[in-house]
């Protein structure tokens, strides 16, 4: 593959811009009264510049991937597209964060700085062509998230979430690192690009190699933890619920997508030759993830926990795209990218509604408190309804196409039984999404459900919700907008 050589820093430009913006936000946030504004502007400018930088790295049709920094970074449209999806998640985190930072102004620097740093970590994961770089990216993503989860220092639940996430995250990272070491033992390299291309390494990827098998398994534990796959998912509901809601929104969008992008690069691309070895276990994990999450979600009464289980369930569905990758890498990459974009929009919007609701009431947002929302706040109920229908995969929303394409890829790759199980799971999932809609539109508000305060305006949070809902519908009506770009991104993985 061609190499950037001395021009390598170009490939790292988006990460560099974002890191600078993060540092400016972190430092600027401490500058007294003006601090929050500086942090906010810095993060917005940083995100905008990074987006522009990513756009300039977008390669023309038919181009080949480029390698940089002695083959440890890969620059292809797949990574660029994925990075853009992470930026989308960060933008929503910034917009929704406004609502939270109103009451916690002195945290503005930390909030913006850490969100941006985590995004840098995600981009590193998406562009990594080396397992060590991927690990660095993962850690750069994780550590800010541990802090963000515990941002509300006086809130016991937030503290608990942070500590739990940190302990389990360290546990997961340990597996990941051990896995990389074992793989290095098996192949003599940590470069994914070598594992794809070098025929000598094919031998090392054979079923006969214990190091490889154990290494791949441990890698799967580490990445599966970040992606929230069963049985490494148990932290998700507790952390999403305990963390400040804008942070939950952020965790549900970018980091999850980053984990899947890495999973795709490792299993869908580098280990594709050994597919018959890992297909079975990923199949089982996909089924377990969807089923466990959906069944558990049925009994949830609290909206944030419900959304947490919903995000686990979606992770199980996205796994289908990874499973299909060895048969049709370009197509399944396209389906995966479309899915993570649609999913980021839906989840950011849905958590946004929780943010908005929490401006009116203290503590947990139960589904019961949504009763009668349609008559109190018809606009907000409509947006939430759109997002719920999209999450359930009802056409013509983006969520429908996301599911449809992943299922179609899985079918083409021969996973008939898995697809049927996934469709059954979608039906089960519709039950709890529709319960939210039913509460909003068909149930009257009881005396206990009345909000304690008038809805206080938080323009940027409301804008974020509407943006998410509108994009969900727009992409649903004109899926080609995203799908064509995703296709160009996937085509470069061939």
């Amino acid at each position: 593959m061609p190499d950037f050589g001395l021009l390598s820093p170009i490939a790292a430009m988006p990460m560099a811009i974002l890191s600078v913006a993060a540092l400016v936000a972190l430092v600027g946030g401490t500058l007294g009264r003006r601090g929050p504004a500086i942090a906010r502007i810095s993060s917005m400018v940083g995100l905008a510049l990074t987006a522009a930088g990513l756009a300039s790295l977008w390669a023309d049709r038919g181009s080949r991937a480029l390698l940089a920094f002695t083959d440890t970074l890969v620059l292809d449209n797949f990574g660029v597209f994925a990075s853009a999806a992470f930026l989308l998640g960060a933008v929503f985190a910034v917009l929704l964060g406004d609502a939270y930072l109103r009451d916690h102004a002195r945290l503005a620097g930390e909030y913006h700085g850490l969100v941006l740093l985590a995004t840098v970590g995600m981009i590193a994961m998406a562009m990594a062509s080396d397992l060590v770089v991927a690990f660095l990216g993962l850690e750069l993503l994780s550590i800010p998230l541990y802090i963000l989860a515990g941002l509300s220092a006086r809130d016991a639940r937030s503290n608990e979430a942070s500590l739990k996430y940190l302990l389990l995250g360290a546990f997961g990272s340990g597996f990941l690192l051990f896995g990389i070491a074992l793989l290095f033992g098996a192949t003599g390299t940590t470069l994914l690009s070598d594992m794809v291309g070098d025929p000598r390494l094919r031998m090392a990827l054979s079923p006969a190699n214990l190091y490889f098998a154990a290494g791949a398994a441990m890698l799967l534990v580490g990445i599966g933890f970040k992606a929230g796959l069963v049985p490494f998912h148990m932290w998700v509901p507790d952390v999403y619920q305990g963390a400040p809601t804008p942070v939950s929104a952020f965790m549900a969008t970018g980091p999850k997508a980053a984990a899947f992008v890495l999973l795709f690069r490792v299993f869908g691309q580098a280990f594709a030759g050994a597919a018959e070895q890992w297909t079975g276990i990923l199949w089982a994990m996909a089924v377990a993830t969807m089923t466990v999450a959906n069944l558990a979600a049925l009994r949830q009464t609290e909206l944030k926990r419900l959304l947490a289980y919903s995000s686990i369930s979606h992770a199980g569905t996205i796994l289908l795209a990874v499973l299909a990758a060895p048969k049709d890498r370009a197509g399944s990459a396209q389906a995966l990218l479309f899915y993570v974009v649609a999913y980021a929009l839906m989840k950011a919007g849905a958590f946004g509604v929780v943010v908005w609701l929490q401006r009116q009431q203290e503590g947990d947002v139960s589904i019961a408190s949504l009763r009668g929302l349609a008559s109190r706040q018809p606009g907000m109920a409509l947006a939430m309804g759109v997002l719920m229908f999209s999450l359930a995969g009802v056409p013509p929303m983006a969520g429908f196409w996301a599911k449809a394409w992943v299922f179609s890829e899985a079918l083409q790759a021969g996973f008939l039984g898995l697809t049927i199980l996934a469709v059954i799971n979608s039906v089960v999932a519709a039950r709890y999404y529709l319960r939210v809609v039913v509460a909003m539109y068909m149930e009257e508000a009881g005396a206990a459900d009345q909000p304690t305060a008038e809805p206080s305006g938080c323009p940027s949070a409301i804008a974020a919700i509407w943006l998410a809902a509108a994009l969900t519908v727009l992409i649903g009506l004109v899926p080609g907008l995203v799908f064509v770009l995703g296709g160009q991104a996937g085509a470069m993985l061939r």
Partner: protein, 647 residues
């Protein structure tokens, strides 16, 4: 061709759609007062009316040819089926849109007064605006498919508005009946659409309705298409044998009856036939079918109207009868006359319904004409408007109803279709009956014997927001006919002039033998004589003591019962269709569904719930449990991946 408005046809249905969106969703419930919602609704229809006027003015200034459809975006693009979202504003849709938005505007204003005491004006105006948007989409669509969207949309709104007072059992039943009967017609329309696509390979008007394309189609296929389209039209326009829903539809609020079930939606069937004039002109048998169904419906409906006692039901049967006239006109190829009657009918029938609504408003919701009477004293404005509309529909010269009906009768008489004289005779009998039942209605409601006069003394005149639209419609019912369709000299027939470029030459156009001025005058004289005698006879008889009326009913015996029971058609349908269908559904619902399918579904749901409960217990929130789960998972993964070496 570079006009200001030409490209902006979309604005016409856009405004009411926006109004419906605003009233339905965007305005919070707390702010939905009558003032707000009615202002939004009336404003949106007024905007739509203005846009239509501007577009029509531009269209009229076009000297040559027909305007091309305006394509907005690719709508459906699946294999051979390519349908763009395109709208067409030609003389036909212009005329219909002007009528719909104009009459619609007046009825919207009237509704503001009529619905003043209703608890939910927001819902009412939302539906009404949605109906306007759908109706205009139906009229402006450039393809059968887009037209069908509007077609189904107005059907939905009709259902919603008939059942508007949904706490009333009878209103719900009526809504359901209208919807189900219309489904029969819709099925016909759908099948026609499929056949059109199979035959012509397209659903766009310019590709289907061109003479070149039609010449290549087989006559059998053409007959099937036109006949099935007509089935759709009989459903929507309440013709025999699918007319049964319209009288029941009177359960809805009176402005709805005026707008949807008299002036606009029910004429959609006529519009479809006129729009497809090229197909019908090429296919004689289907045209004959249209003519015969039209005239038989006209006659039977006017007979039934004679014996009804509910003021709105009389008007409903009158609508069915008048729609029959329109189809009769279509059947003999007099398409412009049909459209002229659509327009004049909208004027006088909307006026009649709004007058009836005003009378009901003034008497506290009374609809039984035997218990009304004497309103002429207390409700003078309503009385005058209603009287004018009665004269118009009865066909008294030179009012609008006379002009358009006379034109239809004339075309029927000179038609080259063999049994034209029979058709004409039936139509003139209907004209006589029309005058009789309308003046029976007028006499019983507004005059009556001494007792009736006493009853009317307690009524009160409606507010001006209701009477002013009434007056305006009455004025249109006077001048509308002569203004649009001056019978002589031929050059001054405005509608003919406007539509001349559009008109596809049918069987009876072009070098048509009109029989000269003498025949025209003679026919007009006969029609007028028949109308006047019917009106005078009925008015004098029904104004007298009600005892005489009851005596006559007893004398007529079974004949009267037959008519008052609407020829027992509803009962027949109940036995032949509804009964077996309900029985079958019961079987499916109670046995197959409840015991079979529901059992399985509920069982599965219960299992899922229990499983969820179990999983929830596992989620203990103890970190060590979570770590243990991860460890177990990791061990399982390693064992699985390394299975080759270990076992």
């Amino acid at each position: 061709m570079d006009f200001l408005w030409t490209k902006h046809i979309w604005l016409i249905p856009f405004w009411p759609a926006l109004g419906a969106l605003a009233n339905g969703v965007l305005i919070p419930r707390a702010r939905k007062t009558l003032d707000v919602v009615s202002t939004v609704a009336i404003g949106s229809v007024a905007m739509s009316f203005l846009c239509t006027v501007f577009l029509t003015a531009e269209l009229a200034s076009l000297r040559i040819g027909n305007p091309a459809p305006v394509e907005y975006f690719r709508w459906i693009d699946a294999g051979d089926l390519r349908v763009p979202f395109a709208l067409l504003f030609d003389p036909l849709s212009a005329t219909m849109c002007l009528m719909v938005t104009g009459v619609g505007l007046l009825i919207h204003i009237y509704s503001m007064g009529y619905m003043a005491h209703d608890p939910d004006p927001g819902r009412f105006f939302t539906y009404l605006n949605l109906f306007m948007a759908m109706m205009l989409l139906l009229l402006l669509a450039d393809s059968f498919l887009l037209m069908f969207v509007g077609w189904e949309g107005v059907g939905l709104c009709s259902y919603l508005l008939i059942g508007f007072w949904h706490r009333k059992e009878s209103a719900n039943r009526a809504g359901l009946k209208a919807f189900l009967v219309n489904r029969v017609g819709d099925a016909g329309f759908l099948m026609a659409m499929m056949l059109i696509f199979v035959t012509f390979g397209s659903l766009r008007f310019d590709e289907v309705l061109s003479n070149a394309a039609i010449r290549q189609a087989s006559p059998t296929m053409l007959f099937a298409i036109t006949a099935l389209l007509f089935v759709g039209a009989t459903g929507k326009s309440a013709q025999l044998p699918l007319h049964v829903w319209l009288p029941d539809a009177m359960e809805g609020p009176t402005p709805v009856s005026a707008l949807i079930h008299a002036a606009t939606m029910v004429t959609a069937g006529v519009y479809v036939v006129v729009r497809c004039a090229a197909l019908y002109s090429a296919e004689g048998a289907a045209s004959a079918l249209v003519a015969w169904i039209g005239v038989i419906t006209a006659l039977l409906a006017s007979l039934i109207a004679l014996a009804q006692t509910d003021i709105k039901r009389v008007l409903a049967y009158s609508t069915i009868s008048q729609l029959g006239y329109m189809f009769l006109a279509c059947g003999v190829g007099a398409y412009v006359a049909a459209i002229l009657h659509v327009v004049t009918h909208a004027f006088f029938k909307a006026c009649l319904f709004l007058g009836a609504g005003s009378a009901m408003h003034g008497t506290g919701g009374q609809t039984d004409i035997r218990k009304m009477g004497g309103l002429a004293k207390t409700m003078p404005r309503t009385t005058v408007a209603f009287w004018i509309a009665c004269l118009s529909i009865a066909g008294i010269a030179p009012l609008a109803g006379f002009v358009s009906k006379d034109e239809i009768l004339h075309h029927v008489f000179v038609s080259t279709y063999a049994p034209a004289r029979t058709l004409w005779t039936l139509a003139i009998i209907t004209a006589f009956l029309t005058a009789v039942y309308m003046f029976r209605l007028f006499a019983l409601t507004f005059h009556g014997d001494e007792q009736a006069m006493k009853r009317g003394a307690h009524a009160h005149e409606s507010p001006s927001v209701m009477t002013i639209p009434l007056m305006m419609l009455a004025a249109l019912a006077i001048v509308g006919g002569l203004a649009l369709g001056l019978p002589y000299p031929p050059g001054l027939h405005l509608l003919n002039h406007f539509m001349r470029g559009w008109l596809i030459i049918g069987r009876h156009h072009g070098a048509e033998d009109t029989g000269g001025l003498g025949l025209a005058l003679a026919l007009a004289a006969i029609a007028l004589a028949v109308a006047v005698s019917g009106a005078v006879l009925a008015f004098r008889f029904f104004r007298g003591p009600y005892r005489r009326v009851e005596l006559l009913q007893r004398r007529l015996g079974f004949a009267y019962t037959l008519l008052s029971r609407k020829l027992y058609i509803d009962e027949l349908y109940d036995i032949v269709i509804v009964g077996p269908a309900v029985g079958l559904s019961r079987l499916a619902a109670d046995v197959t569904d409840t015991r079979g399918i529901d059992g399985i579904v509920h069982g599965a749901a219960a299992i899922a719930y229990r499983a969820g409960e179990g999983l929830r217990r596992l989620q203990t929130s103890h970190t060590r449990v979570y770590a243990l789960a991860m460890l177990v998972g990791a061990v399982a993964l390693v064992l699985y991946l390394a299975r080759g070496m270990l076992f």
